[in-house]
C-alpha cells in the first residue's frame, strides 16, 4: 500500500481530563481530496480529537502523521503554519473588531515600517468573499452580524488559509438549508483542489450527503470507519449509540392532561432576543423546543425563568397570571431551570456535592445556622435516587463525569419541588448510558404530572421523548409540531421541523 495514501493519520490518540477519559486510543485517517466525516454523540470525543490535531489540546499519547511525517503541533499557529485550518464549534471571534481583522487575525499583512496593510487586507477579504459568494462587508463589526453570518465569516477565514487539511466542527449549527447547500458547494470546490476535509456534524442527512468516508466514535473510542455509500441512518445510529433507535429511548409512559402554563405574546427586552412567542404546556407533558443556533431558544427559557428581562407578554400558571421578575420569584412559583452551559452557569466546580446539591434550596436548612444533618440526608437521598456515581458527597463536583454532574444539578432543582422544569440541552456533553437515565428521569417527572420544556439541538432526542415540539426560527415561533399527527411518522416530522427552523431567516 502506498504510504502516502493518507494525508493525515491519527493513531492511538489518548487524552484524559480530570475525571474523564476523553480519548481512548482514537483513530482517524484522511485521504487527499476527500470529505471524511466524524460522527458520534455529544461527548464522544470528536472535538477533543480535532483539538489535539490543531494544537489546542496536548495529547497524552499516540501518533499524528501528516503526509507521512510525524507532527505534534504545540499551538494553533503551528498547525496553521503546517497547512491545517479549523472552523471551531464555538464562534471564536473578537466581537468589537471588524470582519477583516477577524479573518486576518494572527497573520495581519504588513507593508513598510511594520504597519498593517489594511488595503491589502480589505482587497483579499473581498476576493475570498467573492470567490465563496459571501455577501458581507469586510469592515462590518463582527458583533453586529447575525450568528449565521458570523459562521460564514469563520468558514471563509478557514478557507483563506489555503490549508491542505480543513477541519469543520459543526459548521452548520446556525445555517439554514440554503446556506448549508452554499457551504457544500464551497467544500466540493476545495476537494477538487486536493484539500482534505474533516467534517463534524450532528445532522445525519448532511453527513450521508456530503461524505466520502465516515468514522464513528463513541465514548472516546474509535468504533468504525466506512465508505459513506455503505452506510444508512439506521446503521449510523446503531454504531453511534450501540443500541437500536428503539432502545435508545425509554418507553414513553407520560399522559399529558390539562393546561398548567400558558405563555402568551412573550417578548424579550434586550436584543438579540425573541418576539411574540405563545404556547401552552400541559400537566405531564414533555414539550420540546427545536431551532438552529441563534434561534433564541435559550433566551426564551431564561426569560420565562426571570434571568432575562421580558418586554411584554404574560405567563399564566394554573390560571393565575404571574409576574416573574427574577429567578427567585420563578423558583417560588415552582419553576426550575437547568442551564445550557453547565460549566459556566450550572456548576460550582470547586465545591463538593453537598454544596452543589443544596445551593438552590438553602433557605430550607435553617434561618441562621444551617442544619448539617438535614443537608447530609437530602444530599444522600438525591445521590441515591438519581444514581449519581461518586466516591463520596464530599467529592468536588468537577471531578465527576458530565452525566453525573448533570444528575447532581437536576437533583439540586428537584429539592426545590418544582412543578415546571425548563431544561436547556439537558444531555449536552453526556455519555450515552447517562443520557438514557436522564431521559428516563424526564419521563418519570412527567408521569408525576410535572410540566417539562426541553430545548435540544439533537433532533433524535426531541423526536424520542417529546409530546409536542415547538420550533423557533430567528427569534420567532415558527410552529408547533404535534407528534403522531399529519406528518406521516418520525421522518416526516423531522423534515417539517427542519423546514420550520428556516422560516424567518
Amino acid at each position: 500500500m502506498d504510504q502516502h495514501q493518507y494525508m493525515l493519520e491519527m493513531i492511538d490518540i489518548d487524552k484524559s481530563f480530570p475525571g474523564v477519559h476523553a480519548l481512548d486510543r482514537a483513530q482517524f485517517t484522511l485521504r487527499p481530496g476527500t470529505i471524511h466525516s466524524l460522527m458520534g454523540e455529544n461527548g464522544a470525543g470528536k472535538s477533543t480529537l480535532m483539538k489535539c490535531l490543531f494544537g489546542i489540546y496536548k495529547k497524552d499519547s499516540g501518533t499524528i502523521r501528516i503526509e507521512g511525517k510525524d507532527v505534534d503541533f504545540a499551538n494553533p499557529k503551528h498547525a496553521l503554519d503546517n497547512g491545517v485550518a479549523m472552523v471551531h464549534q464555538e464562534l471564536n471571534q473578537v466581537l468589537h473588531r471588524n470582519v477583516m481583522e477577524n479573518v486576518w487575525l494572527g497573520r495581519l499583512p504588513l507593508k513598510k515600517y511594520g504597519l498593517v496593510d489594511s488595503k491589502l487586507m480589505f482587497a483579499e477579504t473581498m476576493e475570498t468573499f467573492r470567490d465563496l459568494e459571501i455577501n458581507i462587508s469586510p469592515t462590518a463589526i463582527i458583533g453586529t452580524l447575525s450568528v449565521s453570518q458570523r459562521q460564514m465569516v469563520e468558514i471563509a477565514k478557514a478557507v483563506s488559509y489555503h490549508a491542505k487539511i480543513l477541519v469543520l466542527d459543526e459548521p452548520t449549527s446556525s445555517l439554514t438549508e440554503k446556506e448549508v447547500d452554499h457551504l457544500f458547494r464551497i467544500i466540493r470546490k476545495l476537494t477538487v483542489q486536493g484539500v482534505g476535509i474533516i467534517y463534524i456534524s450532528h445532522r445525519m442527512d448532511e453527513i450521508l450527503r456530503i461524505s466520502d468516508d465516515i468514522t464513528v466514535m463513541r465514548d472516546g473510542q474509535w468504533i468504525a470507519t466506512k465508505p459513506a455509500n455503505e452506510l444508512d441512518t439506521n446503521e449510523l445510529i446503531r454504531l453511534m449509540v450501540n443500541r437500536d433507535l428503539t432502545h435508545r429511548f425509554p418507553g414513553k409512559t407520560n399522559k399529558p392532561d390539562g393546561t398548567m402554563m400558558s405563555v402568551s405574546h412573550l417578548s424579550g427586552k434586550y436584543e438579540p432576543t425573541f418576539h411574540d412567542v405563545s404556547f401552552t404546556l400541559r400537566k405531564g407533558e414533555i414539550l420540546g423546543v427545536a431551532g438552529l443556533m441563534g434561534s433564541r431558544r435559550t433566551e426564551l427559557l431564561n426569560t420565562i425563568f426571570g434571568v432575562f428581562t421580558k418586554e411584554s407578554g404574560e405567563i399564566e400558571v394554573d390560571g393565575k397570571v404571574i409576574d416573574i421578575s427574577s429567578p427567585e420569584v420563578a423558583k417560588r412559583n415552582g419553576f426550575a431551570l437547568i442551564t445550557e452551559e453547565r460549566r459556566a452557569t450550572g456548576l460550582f466546580p470547586l465545591m463538593n456535592i453537598y454544596f452543589n446539591t443544596i445551593i438552590a434550596n438553602i433557605g430550607k436548612y435553617g434561618k441562621v445556622i444551617l442544619s448539617q444533618r438535614k443537608i447530609a440526608s437530602d444530599t444522600q437521598s438525591s445521590i441515591q435516587s438519581l444514581k449519581v456515581k461518586t466516591a463520596s458527597a464530599k467529592t468536588a463536583i468537577r471531578s465527576l463525569s458530565g452525566g453525573n454532574q448533570q444528575k447532581v444539578i437536576i437533583g439540586r432543582w428537584l429539592l426545590t419541588k418544582p412543578e415546571i422544569l425548563l431544561l436547556d440541552e439537558p444531555t449536552r456533553g453526556i455519555d450515552v448510558g447517562a443520557k438514557f437515565e436522564i431521559y428516563q428521569l424526564i419521563i418519570n417527572l412527567a408521569n408525576e404530572g410535572k410540566g417539562i420544556v426541553m430545548v435540544s439541538s439533537e433532533m433524535p432526542e426531541l423526536l424520542g421523548i417529546c409530546d409536542r415540539i415547538l420550533v423557533m426560527s430567528n427569534g420567532r415561533l415558527a410552529g408547533i409540531v404535534e407528534r403522531g399527527k399529519d406528518f406521516g411518522g418520525v421522518a416526516g416530522e423531522q423534515e417539517h421541523i427542519l423546514k420550520l427552523a428556516g422560516t424567518y431567516i
Binding site: 489546542i56 471564536n92 473578537v94 511594520g114 432575562f308
Partner: protein
C-alpha cells in the same frame, strides 16, 4: 420611542464629557479669569506626564488588566534619573565619582530600563504565571517602593533626603519651554503629543495593536487564530514600561526633587484618565484619543478645584467620586443587558 432611546444612549456614551464640560463652564463662570492661555497650558502641562503614564497603562487595561505599580515604579525610575542628572558641582551628589555631566540619553535609558524590567515582571506574571494583573502589580508596587527607599537611603553622603540640584541642561530639555512669540509652550506637552501619535499608530496600524485588541476582546479567538497570547501580553507590558520610563524622566525634571514618596498614587490618575477616556475594564475596547482627552479632563478638574481654592482633602474626595462615577458609567456602557 426609538429617538428617546437614541438620546439616552448618546447621554450615556458622552455623560462624562457633558458632566466635565459643565464643571469647566461653572468654574469659568465663578472665576472668569480661568479661561486664560496660561491656565490652559498649565492644565496641558500637568496632564502630560500623567498622560504618558496613561498611554502606557491603557494597553494593559485593553488586555483586561490593570497596573497598580505605576506610581512606585515612576518613583524608583525618577530616583535613578535624579541620581544621574545631579549637577557635578553639587557636593553631596549621589555619584561623587561623576565629574562630567552624562549625556541625557543615559539617565533616560536608565529610567526606561528600570520601568521595562518591572513592567516585564508584571507581564510575565500575567502571561506565563496566569496571575491576575491586580495581584502581580500590587506585588511589584511594593518591590519598587522598597527598592526606591533603599536606593535613596544609600547616598554616599549618608543623607536620606530627596535627590535634588539637577543639571541645568537636563531641566532645560525635560522641563523647559518652547518660545513661540510670547507664548511659552512647555516641551513636555510636545513630548506627550508626539508619544500619543506614536501610540495611536501602534494601536491602530501595527500587528501588536490589533493583536492587543484581539487578546483583550477574546483571548480564545486570538489563540486559535495563531496569535501568541503570551508574546502579545509581554510586548504590551514592555511598551508600557518604556512609556513609564519616559514619564519618570520628565517627572524628575518637573518636580526637581525626588524622594521616597515621589510617584505615590500616580497610578490612580493614570487609570482614571483611561477610564474617563473610555478604555473599558472589560477589555478589548479603547482609543488613544480617548486616553489623551481623559488625561486632560482629569487634570482640568484637579486644576479647577485648586483654582477655586477647594480644600485639599476635599479635592481627594471629589477625585475619588469622579473615578467611581466614571467606572459606574463605563460599566453601564458595556453591560450586556439580558
Amino acid at each position: 420611542m426609538e429617538k428617546s432611546k437614541k438620546i439616552g444612549e448618546f447621554l450615556l456614551n458622552y455623560a462624562l464629557y457633558i458632566l466635565l464640560g459643565a464643571i469647566l463652564v461653572t468654574v469659568s463662570i465663578i472665576k472668569p479669569n480661568f479661561i486664560a492661555i496660561n491656565n490652559i497650558l498649565n492644565i496641558m502641562k500637568q496632564a502630560s506626564t500623567k498622560g504618558i503614564l496613561a498611554l502606557g497603562c491603557a494597553g494593559i487595561i485593553v488586555l483586561g488588566g490593570t497596573d497598580l505599580s505605576i506610581g512606585r515604579m515612576l518613583g524608583l525610575a525618577a530616583a535613578v534619573t535624579a541620581s544621574l542628572v545631579q549637577s557635578v558641582t553639587y557636593a553631596s551628589r549621589y555619584y561623587t565619582g561623576m565629574t562630567e555631566q552624562l549625556p541625557l540619553i543615559v539617565p533616560l535609558l536608565a529610567a526606561i530600563a528600570v520601568c521595562v524590567l518591572l513592567s516585564a515582571i508584571n507581564g510575565f506574571g500575567v502571561s506565563k504565571l496566569h496571575m491576575h494583573a491586580f495581584i502581580i502589580t500590587l506585588g511589584t508596587q511594593l518591590i519598587a517602593y522598597g527598592a526606591n527607599c533603599i536606593y535613596i537611603e544609600s547616598q554616599p553622603s549618608g543623607s536620606a533626603q530627596a535627590l535634588s540640584t539637577f543639571d541645568r541642561n537636563f531641566l532645560d530639555k525635560a522641563a523647559g519651554n518652547l518660545m513661540i512669540g510670547t507664548v511659552r509652550i512647555p516641551y513636555v506637552i510636545i513630548y506627550f503629543a508626539a508619544l500619543a501619535i506614536v501610540m495611536w499608530i501602534v494601536w491602530n496600524k501595527t500587528r501588536l495593536g490589533k493583536n492587543m485588541f484581539a487578546v483583550g476582546g477574546n483571548t480564545e479567538a486570538a489563540a486559535v487564530s495563531g496569535v501568541s497570547v503570551t508574546k502579545t501580553i509581554m510586548y504590551v507590558y514592555v511598551l508600557a514600561g518604556v512609556l513609564y520610563g519616559i514619564a519618570s524622566f520628565l517627572e524628575a525634571a518637573r518636580i526637581q526633587s525626588v524622594g521616597a514618596n515621589t510617584g505615590i498614587n500616580y497610578e490612580l490618575d493614570a487609570i482614571s484618565a483611561c477610564v474617563i477616556g473610555g478604555v473599558s475594564f472589560t477589555g478589548g475596547v479603547g482609543t488613544i484619543q480617548g486616553v489623551v482627552i481623559g488625561a486632560i479632563i482629569l487634570q482640568a478638574i484637579n486644576y479647577s478645584l485648586y483654582f477655586l481654592g477647594v480644600n485639599a482633602y476635599l479635592q481627594y474626595i471629589i477625585r475619588g467620586l469622579i473615578i467611581v462615577l466614571a467606572v459606574a458609567i463605563d460599566v453601564r456602557k458595556y453591560l450586556v443587558k439580558k
